[in-house]
């Protein structure tokens, strides 16, 4: 029983991070009908940029952590806008395959750049512990403070994202743009602004995911974005591309499948990705629009 609870907790933590990345995929797909494959690497970039702020943290612990979060998020958001202008917008009118390949290669370039140019970038990097250590147990279930912090930040970010998209005028512009580009422009929505905001928002979420990844696992490495990218995409797909709640649900579901395969299937940890991806393919076969998605990838 403890075991199940503990593993559930593991899955929830993992799911929080997957969901944060998955939302970005969903947002980009919803607004621009693109898959931004370097998104996982953007998340990795977030973690590495946060590392630049380590001296500040050692000086002012709490304030320093806040500065690190905000600083890294802002920088990555700007980079996200930059990347969209460089790789995604020029390819808007081309077949999807080009965008896919261009963003995949952009991810490769980011990854290689970190490996080659970040000091010691080939090795895993120690990530500062910014949340209080320790924890408490309820009936054999151990819950750590950092888990609670990460979960709280994750949930707060989910709620904030949903509120931004559903309640603010910017969010309304994004939604309008995603439903009918031209009509939204006729209502005074600036296309470039929507794209910039979308990419800033999605990249900021990815940066948060990267930083939370760092604090949770306490180390980061340049390759971490590749897997989180593919898993984030899969999670967003299971949930239904274009739907933010779908991405969140998909992220948790994917984490839940992986964790339970590892934890409860004898010898399963070897095949956890095989099973998780297999489930995803089945999903696409029997419910191609995902759990909460409403529309197909290709509109006719």
């Amino acid at each position: 029983m403890d075991m199940i609870g503990q593993q559930l907790m593991n899955a929830v933590m993992l799911g929080t991070m997957y969901s944060l990345v998955a939302i970005g995929f969903s947002l980009f797909f919803g607004t621009m009908n693109v898959i931004h494959f370097s998104h996982g690497d953007i998340s990795m970039l977030g973690a590495f940029i946060a590392l630049f702020f380590v001296p500040i943290i050692t000086q002012y612990s709490v304030l320093g952590s806040v500065i690190m979060f905000i600083g890294a998020i802002v920088i990555v958001a700007v980079l996200g806008i930059f990347l969209s202008g460089l790789v995604i917008q020029p390819l808007q009118s081309s077949p999807q395959l080009y965008t896919l390949l261009a963003t995949l290669e952009a991810g490769l370039v980011i990854r290689e750049a970190i490996r080659l140019f970040y000091p010691g970038g080939k090795m895993s990097q120690k990530f500062p512990i910014i949340f209080p250590s320790g924890g408490f147990s309820i009936g054999g279930l151990t819950i750590r403070f950092d888990q609670l912090f990460i979960l709280a930040i994750g949930v707060a970010v989910f709620v904030a994202t949903v509120l931004i998209v559903n309640k603010t005028s910017l969010g309304m512009a994004i939604r309008a743009y995603s439903q009918d580009k031209e009509a939204s422009m006729m209502m005074g929505v600036s296309e470039s602004k929507v794209i910039a905001v979308t990419f800033a928002l999605g990249s900021a979420l990815a940066a948060i995911a990267g930083i939370l990844h760092g604090t949770y696992y306490r180390e980061v490495i340049y390759t971490m974005g590749l897997t989180s990218g593919i898993i984030g995409f899969s999670a967003a797909t299971i949930g239904g591309l274009g739907s933010i709640w779908g991405a969140i649900v998909g992220g948790y579901l994917f984490a839940f499948i992986q964790t339970s395969v590892s934890a409860f299937v004898p010898g399963g940890s070897e095949y956890r990705d095989v099973i998780a991806f297999g489930v995803m393919i089945l999903f696409l076969l029997f419910r191609p629009t995902g759990i909460l998605g409403e529309r197909q990838s290709e509109r006719v």
Binding site: S169, M172, A173, R175, A176, Q179, D180, E182, A183, S184, M185, M186, M187, G188, V189, S190, E191, E294
Partner: protein, 234 residues
């Protein structure tokens, strides 16, 4: 108010509009008539720069808007009712109306305008929390017009508002357009239904193969043999 000189535009290698000259004066209702494929919608889309002009100029209140972006053109006070009920289908009626005055930040003004829209289209009030995509064709058409007027534009560009509507609704539609113009708005109306269009407009242009072949007072156009031949003989 709106002045178009020597405008040409098109898609890819194909030029659709050739040297269009057109003007709309303050307070007027001007209709652009033409058969399918005459270039009416292309004209509309070029005015609001969804298609880039190849040559010629578009001036609004003396200001050159040829190369402004769509949203900037809208911000100058031009309302647009696009062709084919381009609603935000996954938004409610309320949200669609709010999108119509997206640039207006004053909540009180917005509330007033929504009130006014509901006044004009009582049907929409009943459906205000319904997703627009789930409404009937007529209701959608009404919402499209209501949304277009939400920004309280000086000039309203309407692209075939009657398209695909039942005859009863078409009449209702035109009476609404008339009402809008009576409230002092200038209207540029693109219509396939020439008779109805000319009935409510002051002046009209006849487009054929991307060229203006005829222009004049609506009453005169109605009597013109060319128009008659094009529209009323069959």
């Amino acid at each position: 108010m709106l002045e178009i000189n020597g405008l040409s535009s098109g898609y890819g290698k194909i030029e659709v509009l050739h040297q269009i000259n057109l003007h709309v004066d303050e307070g007027e209702v001007v209709s652009v008539l033409g058969a399918n494929g005459a270039g009416k919608t292309t004209l509309m889309r070029t005015i609001i720069n969804l298609i880039h002009a190849r040559s010629g100029t578009i001036k609004y209140r003396g200001k050159d808007i040829t190369h402004l972006k769509t949203h900037q053109i809208h911000a100058l006070g031009i309302g647009i009712v696009p062709e084919g009920k381009r609603l935000f289908e996954k938004m409610t009626v309320m949200e669609n109306l709010r999108m119509g005055c997206f640039l207006e930040k004053n909540e009180r003004v917005i509330a007033e305008r929504i009130e006014k829209a509901f006044d004009m289209f009582p049907r929409l009030k009943e459906r205000k929390d319904q997703l627009s995509g789930t409404m009937s064709g007529g209701e959608q058409a009404m919402l499209t017009i209501a949304r277009g007027t939400m920004s309280d534009p000086d000039l309203l560009i309407m692209d075939e508002p009657s398209f695909g509507l039942a005859p009863v609704l078409i009449n209702e539609m035109f009476s609404i357009i008339k009402r809008i113009s009576q409230e002092g708005k200038t209207v540029l109306l693109v219509e396939q239904n020439a008779w109805k269009g000319l009935e409510i407009s002051d002046r009209g242009y006849l487009l054929q193969k991307g060229e203006v072949i005829l222009e004049g007072k609506s009453s005169e156009l109605k009597e013109n043999s060319l128009v008659k031949k094009a529209y009323f003989s069959n």
